[in-house]
Symmetry: C2
Subunit: 122 residues, 2 copies
């Protein structure tokens, strides 16, 4: 059985246009044989943010720690640990760390999109 702890997985800095201070741990992904979806853990440093972007697949998110200001489809939402979000396909979205602590969250994606292309970061 695949069994690992979050802190055992090496965090990879996310190097994309529009990203600041974000690291990703791929907890369960395609290389592990995940059949349908991937589990990723993100850490956003104070002052950091994910890219403001959209794509034609969804995210399901569980905020694990810290606070976020989330832009979604033209509106802003204050989020904290214990909040669950569904980012629907083709909706513009961005996660901004809104506090002095690390923002951490789980973010799930399907492992493929567009009829079989591997999803980035899965």
């Amino acid at each position: 059985m695949l069994k690992r702890r979050v802190e055992e997985v090496h965090p990879t800095p996310v190097d994309m246009p529009g990203v600041q201070g974000v690291a990703m741990r791929l907890l369960v992904g395609r290389k592990d044989g995940a059949p349908t979806f991937a589990m990723r853990h993100y850490t956003v440093s104070p002052g950091g943010h994910t890219p403001r972007h959209q794509h034609n697949y969804e995210h399901e998110v569980m905020i694990m720690g810290g606070t976020a200001r989330v832009e979604y489809d033209g509106a802003f939402h204050d989020c904290a640990a214990g909040d669950v979000l569904l980012i629907e396909p083709n909706k513009m979205h961005q996660f901004v760390n809104a506090g002095p602590q690390d923002l951490t969250f789980l973010c799930f994606v399907p492992v493929t999109f567009d009829c079989g292309k591997p999803t980035p970061g899965s």
Copy 2:
């Protein structure tokens, strides 16, 4: 945007053969428009356990609190908060609360299996 807190979702007792002391919160599911996978939150009371069963779709699990003894494909694994598990399709598995506190975990499933049947609890 779908945004909800875990504690706002009503827990439903899981009524299946072989289950004891388990409640499920469907955090993001088919009725919410989840395209590919569903997010569920489980609480297993002290002395409780999920069914010992198998099925032809996977689970991805994040242990959130408490401790579990997980049976998987003939072996037993001690698990605690922060552990991530991939339960592969067609592997016999069971989650037993191994401690005096509630065991809580997130468990994700694909929303369909067998070429389009709705996955139970999704």
